[in-house]
Symmetry: C2
Subunit: 413 residues, 2 copies
């Protein structure tokens, strides 16, 4: 069962927004055994939309379209779809009521004619109610192929996918069985990892595919098994993962699809009944935010101090100004003092301290751009390392955040 995704919007092609919708749709379709063959991002242009729908429908049986359903002039998807299906727009009473309700509840301005037009849909379409916005989803069929149009606003599209599209697709199509297994590894690069598991990889059966998804400081391995024998697929995947664990068990973080090092740290801390705090300078709150972003963080994450200015390190964390003066603000000593101060102030068992210079200019310290000192305070001690990451600000911050996770995870495992 193959699908294609078409995302419509000039803003994607000129790079003003990143098309994250396709990734979400691809992930959700995959879970129900629908394989995305291609994603095409195209212009708000009638002929281009018509061509793209036609080409996609020549390759696959399911075409999902997002974008171009807004109330403004540059949104032409609905009219174009109408033309493709040789149809006319008719007012849908349910959608109109829903739009009126949304305006009454959330929006102070009165409902306008432009907004009321959101209730117009192709007469041949099945309306997919969009509870999160004014533009309804639309389901159309032609020659036994299914076409679905959704708004481009990510949370509206996500809601529609979950509430309407996925349940209907599962009823409408027979699909093969598919299992993905993700293994998150850390502290080893892609090619070193590939060599280490070469024999294992060569022995994978043909119905299991392996992909390497490297990112900063970690590699995600993804096994995809596909076939009709559910039990065979499950058993083989399980067997292969056990075999892999024998080879690289020491660098495996976990097996969840959305596994992250910071989530794993959270789980380990909860399991060990320990807590964490952070004291950040150059990472500016990104470490704290990475933990706080996870639901349930309050079980182990006490908080953090973002002491960006040197004086704040003294005023807020109580770092001894003499240490700063003697070693400079970007130093092993200050990183360790920050971690220890966070541990004390936030009454946590572990603490991370970062200080450095992410650039682009030299800051309060005198180290070269890209230098970061990371300290980890444990219940019994503190240690730290100096790193030189990059001359790109964003990348230095990212690498420092990642490295701090890696150091802490190493300690907890």
């Amino acid at each position: 069962m193959l699908a294609e995704i078409i995302t419509i919007g000039d803003e994607i092609l000129i790079g003003q927004i990143i098309d994250s919708n396709s990734a979400f749709i691809g992930k959700e379709l995959n879970k129900i055994g629908v394989d995305v063959h291609q994603i095409s991002s195209i212009k708000d242009d009638k002929q281009h939309i018509l061509d793209a729908i036609e080409e996609a429908s020549n390759r696959v049986n399911l075409v999902l379209i997002t974008g171009g359903l807004g109330p403004t002039k540059d949104d032409i998807t609905k009219h174009t779809i109408c033309e493709y299906f040789d149809d006319i727009l008719v007012e849908n009473k349910d959608v109109l009521m829903h739009v009126e309700r949304l305006f009454a509840k959330y929006i102070s301005t009165p409902i306008s004619d432009v907004n009321k037009q959101q209730a117009l849909v192709p007469s041949k379409s099945t309306v997919l109610m969009n509870l999160y916005g004014t533009a309804p989803g639309m389901w159309l069929e032609k020659d036994d192929k299914v076409f679905i149009s959704m708004p481009g606003v990510p949370y509206e599209m996500k809601g529609l996918m979950k509430d309407e599209v996925l349940p209907r697709l599962q009823k409408r199509f027979n699909r093969p069985y598919i299992i993905h297994k993700t293994i998150l590894t850390y502290s080893m690069g892609e090619s070193a990892l590939a060599e280490k598991i070469e024999d294992w990889e060569n022995n994978l059966p043909s119905y299991i595919k392996l992909a390497y998804l490297p990112s900063l400081g970690k590699v995600r391995l993804r096994l995809s098994a596909r076939g009709s024998d559910k039990k065979l697929l499950q058993d083989t995947i399980e067997h292969k993962v056990s075999a892999l664990n024998l080879i690289i068990g020491d660098i495996i973080v976990g097996y969840e699809e959305d596994e992250t090092i910071e989530k794993r740290i959270g789980q380990l801390l909860v399991k060990q009944g320990k807590t964490l705090s952070v004291a950040e300078s150059c990472t500016g709150g990104k470490i704290a935010q990475s933990f706080a972003a996870n639901a349930g963080a309050s079980a182990y994450f006490r908080g953090g101090a973002v002491t960006y200015a040197t004086q704040s390190k003294i005023d807020v964390l109580g770092i001894d100004p003499k240490i700063i003066k003697r070693y400079t603000v970007t130093s092993i000593e200050v990183a360790e003092a920050m971690a220890l101060a966070a541990k004390e102030k936030f009454k946590s068992d572990y603490a991370i301290g970062t200080t450095g210079n992410a650039g682009p200019e030299k800051g309060d310290g005198d180290v070269e751009v890209g230098t970061v000192f990371i300290a980890i305070a444990t219940p019994k001690s503190v240690f730290s390392e100096k790193y030189v990451f990059s001359d790109l600000r964003e990348r230095t911050i990212e690498k420092a955040v990642n490295k701090s996770f890696e150091l802490l995870l190493n300690l907890l495992l």
Copy 2:
């Protein structure tokens, strides 16, 4: 001058990664007057790659391809390109030296045969040296059309684009003149804005296109003018923006392509010689991090306290436990106390305080999930508001961050 982008990788189609490369490439091409006609994300599959390259080359004169150049088995782009151009792979001495140097400098493991194969390139290609990784870029021509292959690792691709691809494209192709002007507005929704500027929009000349790019709490308007008469385009855009300013000047944040509310806040604070700090609970460091992410933040951003646990609000910020007990930890009073405490601790002129419950479960407070209190302390006073944002954790955090920027910007303007 039209281009297409092809991004290769199963990981994009199953949604394990979001294709951010296309957005970067689209943005950079647009700046030099090259229009991206379509972005196609396809599989690591030989026939699919061959088809996609052929189709794109039938539509446009420039095809940029990313991905599938890694050293592992699932990376087949180079061999497939070789087949498309009826070519063979040959070792490139410069690339080999570069790969060896990279290994000697950064990587502790010895260089392997797999890594040495990165130096193999199609004999007809011009090598584009990738200073940031082992996979070189490749430039090939056929029937007066240009094909460029780059690695999929974002910072390697970005480096190649800037160092090699863009300068070469500017030499190779004649391009029309193009101007984009972005106007960031806040605090008004897309359709209300569209109605307010309807007459202005209807009077735009045919060579200027307007797009609405709405996101949380803001709408970016993008004007794109295209033609051969540079001066006419510039003058008309300038004239139209001035006219727009008369209609909605009060909700315009700024005109930079990468304008954000937090950057604008930073500029205003620097201009007024004022500083900022934050005290965050449910937003978990995201506000601090948004400011710290900008180069030059140290000129106005003093730092922040992420007091996630209730006790941390007392221990770190010095909030009076009686206030927490009396009003609960998620309250107007605690938000204001947090903002005032941050202002005092960090010795800043302004401070933001947030406390609330982003969910999914009820936390230390007893307000419903999605409730956030935001306080702003100014040099002279403090005020706060209660909001109920969403029952989705991520969205509540995002909305709270945005709203706090909006409140502060309102004060500074």
